[in-house]
Amino acid sequence: MFRKGASALAVWAALCFCHAAHAATEDDLKELRDQVRLLKLDYERRIEALERRLQQAEAAAGKAEATARDAGLAAGKAESAATQAAVQASSRPAGENAFNPAVSLILNGTYSNLSQDPNSYKINGFVPSMGEVGPPPRSFSLGESELAISANIDPYFRGTLFAALAPDNSIAVEEANIQTMGLSNGLTIKAGRFRSSVGYLNEIHPHGWDFADAPLVSRAFLGGQLSDDGVRLKWVAPAELYLDVGFELGRGRSFPAGPEGGRNKNGFGSSNLFTHLGGDIGASTAWQLGLSHLQTSPQDRMYDDADAAGAMVSNSFTGKSRLWVLDGVLKWAPNGNSTDVNFKLQGEYFRRDEDGTLTYDTSGASLGAQAGGYSSRQSGWYLQGVYQFIPRWRVGYRYDRLDSGTARLGLVDSGALGAADFPILASYNATRHTLMTDWSPSEFSRLRLQFARDDSRKGMTDNQVFLQYIMSLGAHGAHKF
């Protein structure tokens, strides 16, 4: 009823308006004609002025002794510029190759000098995370050569592949994903295999790290780096202060999920919720804070240990694993110009709670399989500062610390087994001091010298020296903050 009334009103108003306009037309016709005449006069005047200006320009050009350079600037400059532009456009590559994606390759190699055997590397107090966590072999060793290929697929998607060519002649797919470009309102969706947004450093490829190796927290809690198969949804708030919120669902194909390769079940095996907050303080300082929560339900997650009798046994964990990570980055450069001098402060705090069942000796190599409760609360953090004091040269220091806490083991509490049957789980606080200096002749090459005193192993201080090169070829990659 109301709507009908409103439309009737609108029609009435429109009719009135038309009528009024019609009446006005006849009255104002003469006035309109006058206006058109005035407009015409105005345009003629303007054209005359333009012609005069052109003549002046031509005269000036004639006076100025047409040298070769002047010829380009003179009257015909528009045409010659247009021709040049046309030539440039016409000489662009054509054919199938023109759509080649951006390709870049990272080459890196290390010379290591280690006072302890890298093959016996472990972090005491923590369940081995099975990833590539140990230091590189002694003497010369080739790092992973990283091949990156990326391109826009169409207006809606972008595709990226990072393949790691390992020195043992194997190839690993580190990342292979698609990302939306066509969504608005701050939304992006990523699907495929990608580095999980848990903590700060996990999303950054090793060639972008400020030290030759990963922090101890990444080794103990994420198996080096966590990259899962799944999907990510992220939303950026429309505000001056940067705020994003997102979540990831994955199969849980690697530590802290388990077993290796993921569980044989529908749905998802790991979930990660994250949020970041960031902004500037004046022109010189930028900061970002992040919080993430990774949740997995490992089933038969295996690790090897030696029991009290010295027999090698395989143990397994089934239960829930919850990881909280708080991370922060602060970058400073005078007036925000990082070319000559800059400073970067970075730190992350990890805390993990695990609850479930621990099965001792699953394969019956020693006293036979026995299961009991397991619960632990473990944490760790690192803080690092890197200072570029003159162009090309940087120095950095990093302090790592892990706090294993004391795991509650049902089998030990009940007296079925002794604490000595789980030596790797014995409480221990690992620490490491790292000092590095690097020299970057250009944006694309870097040489690094690093010293570390690594106390990951109980009573076995490892003094490490690394000499490393990292070079990048091909497309100029853009780096995250």
Binding site: M181, G182, G186, T188, G278, A286, G336, S442
Partner: protein
């Protein structure tokens, strides 16, 4: 999980409640395009410049604050030609704003509109950090500014159709004033013809070309490679044989290399604003060229 969901919903509610901003949000990668957008848009645009004259536009961190600004932008104006290759792609891919995706009216690359200088015939990084599409520092030729102004005002009119006439009127007024200023500058600059100068980086090539200066050397041995002692020593020797009138550097360059050469070779070191905000007098685009010319004329003699 539940608290996170509540948070997302609350944020969504705030978003929905925010009234549409009246002004068009323009995100300029460099101050010169910010200043141009301000000239052409007046109070109908709200301009944010991602960089300042004291920052090297090649090396900018993809800061969270920049992502936040791209997120709410209606128009992104950048130089392009790989000048921002190290940071702009991150901003665009993280911000989730389809309005300013390359290829849409909301994304304008100024370098696409002008004829580029120094397009390399051989593209190889052994020659330094060269740009395959040619030198990207196009704004130091004021004739290029006029070309970009034409395209930028058309984009403003296209995006904000309600105010299209106002943008075109402002553009016409700007072009008139710019033409008059250009005439004045070219008259003043006759004295600068063939003046030999040493530059810091290849960021002055368009100025050199416009004014007919002669580039007698460069402090950087190769583009993007910082000056080395051997390069400076070689320059000092060359300056003794055939002295340049001045060694010029940008507001964002470390002045020490230029001062070193200036003292050894006894030629003045001249800081040029390079872009809007690079000096007290370079408050807008007109001031940028007024001040640049004044500083060069002071050493021309």
């Amino acid at each position: 999980m539940k608290s996170m969901l509540t948070f997302i919903m609350a944020a969504g509610a705030i978003l929905a409640a925010t009234p549409a901003a009246a002004a068009l949000n323009v995100f300029a990668c460099e101050p010169e395009w910010g200043a141009l957008a301000q000239e052409l848009g007046g109070d109908r645009v709200s301009v944010y410049s991602a960089t300042t004259a004291l920052q090297d536009p090649h090396r900018i961190e993809a800061r969270p604050s920049l992502i936040a600004r791209v997120r709410t932008a209606d128009l992104v104006v950048c130089t392009g030609n790989d000048l921002e290759v190290g940071w702009l792609p991150v901003l665009l891919s993280q911000a989730g704003n389809a309005k300013v995706r390359p290829g849409t009216p909301g994304f304008l690359e100024a370098s696409q509109l002008v004829v580029k200088l120094e397009v390399p015939r051989i593209v190889d990084r052994s020659m330094g950090d060269i740009h395959p599409g040619g030198n990207p520092h196009i704004h130091l030729d004021p004739r290029n500014i006029a070309r970009v102004a034409g395209a930028l005002s058309e984009r403003l009119a296209q995006i904000d159709t309600a105010n299209a006439d106002a943008y075109r009127a402002r553009a016409a007024s700007f072009q008139d004033r710019w033409r008059a200023a250009l005439q004045r500058w070219e008259q003043q600059a006759v004295r600068l013809r063939d003046m030999p100068i040493v530059v810091y980086h290849k960021d002055m090539s368009y100025l050199v070309n416009w004014l007919g200066l002669r580039e007698a050397g460069s402090l950087e041995p190769r583009p993007g490679i910082p000056p080395t002692p051997s390069q400076l020593a070689e320059l000092v020797q060359r300056m003794q044989r055939e002295p340049a009138k001045a060694v010029i550097y940008s507001a964002y360059n470390d002045p020490r290399a230029a001062q070193f050469l200036s003292e050894r070779a006894r030629i003045p070191a001249v800081m040029l604003p390079y872009t809007v905000g690079g000096s007290g007098a370079a408050r807008d685009l007109f001031g940028l060229f007024d001040d640049t010319l004044a500083r060069l004329l002071a050493v021309a003699k």
